[in-house]
């Protein structure tokens, strides 16, 4: 169902998003995900691996730009600027779906 009206929830802070992501990366059973979020992984950009994503999300990162609210999916999308294991700058995009209690991670190389 496409939702276009309603009160837009507040976006997560960097600290809240960091906790959500790290919890999901460590959660090992579906029972545990009742308390945390499910981590879904979409397309990784070429040459970026999940090892890079884990490294980038565990290390220091910051928002590349302010979060964007998608009214079609009624979810916040966060753009995280971080680094691969080899120190290349990447952007990790995280779309958090509060209703399904899941978030989707995709990556890309930054725009020059």
């Amino acid at each position: 169902m496409v939702q276009e009206k309603g009160v837009v929830p507040d976006p997560l802070t960097e600290e809240q998003l960091r906790k959500l992501v790290l919890d999901a990366m460590n959660t090992s059973t579906y029972a545990e995900t009742l308390e945390t979020y499910h981590a879904l992984y979409g397309h990784m950009d070429r040459d970026i691996t999940h090892g890079d994503v884990i490294h980038g999300l565990q290390g220091p990162w910051q928002f590349e730009r302010p979060p964007h609210f998608n009214r079609d999916h009624w979810q916040w999308k966060y753009y995280i600027s971080t680094e691969t294991v080899d120190g290349d700058v990447i952007t990790v995009v995280i779309a958090v779906d509060g209703w399904r209690r899941e978030f989707v991670v995709v990556t890309r190389w930054p725009e020059k």
């Binding site: 496409v2 090992s28 059973t29 981590a39 691996t49 090892g51 779309a95 020059k112």
Partner: protein, 181 residues
């Protein structure tokens, strides 16, 4: 590549299909960086527009498990497997090359499949990974292997233990040379 932007899934579809990866139809986990890893039991989602996503619980544990499997496998490590172990340790290529006593250019050629890895380097990388990762299973395996090597050099204990002498000098104790050997 830099400059290539693929925006995140942005269609307006709100329905999606769900599949569970089975042993007959496992999920090909290419995003881990290895070409031959398949997952069973994970949920896959496909949007009406064709976009796919996979749910991977405990991804850190999964990556550590794959790395452990590589470090213990019988066949030689491939370049991509060495790259996987390096990334699992979170080390840049130059740092890793220094730790495993390789020239950075050599490591690059190995990781890119342009040069095969020598037997000693292969072993050294596995040992280095075990020690750095502190994976308890690998550490146990390493300890057992070390015990086997050392026991081959141990001599039988003499009936009468040799005299062991400790001396103090400037308020500091030290074993005398050859003490107890």
């Amino acid at each position: 590549m830099a400059g290539e932007i693929r925006e995140m899934h942005e269609c307006s579809s709100t329905t999606r299909q769900e599949f569970i990866a089975t042993i007959e139809k496992p999920y090909h986990y290419a995003d881990c960086g290895l070409p031959n890893i398949y997952l069973v039991g994970v949920r896959q989602f496909q949007c009406e527009c064709g976009e796919k996503a996979v749910e991977i619980p405990a991804i850190k544990q999964l990556m550590a498990l794959i790395a452990r499997h590589l470090a213990m496998k019988n066949a030689s490590l491939t370049g991509l497997e060495i790259k996987f172990l390096r990334k699992q340790l979170g080390q840049r290529a130059n740092d890793f090359a220094e730790h495993v006593k390789l020239q950075p250019e050599t490591l690059s050629r190995i990781e890119n499949g342009k040069q095969s890895v020598g037997e000693k380097t292969d072993v050294y990388i596995r040992i280095y990974y075990a020690l750095e990762s502190k994976d308890p299973v690998l550490m146990d395996a390493l300890k057992s292997a070390l015990d086997r090597v050392l026991s081959a050099h141990r001599t039988k204990a003499p009936k009468k233990p040799p005299k062991t002498v400790a001396t103090i000098e400037h308020d500091k104790w030290a074993m005398a040379a050859n003490a107890g050997r």
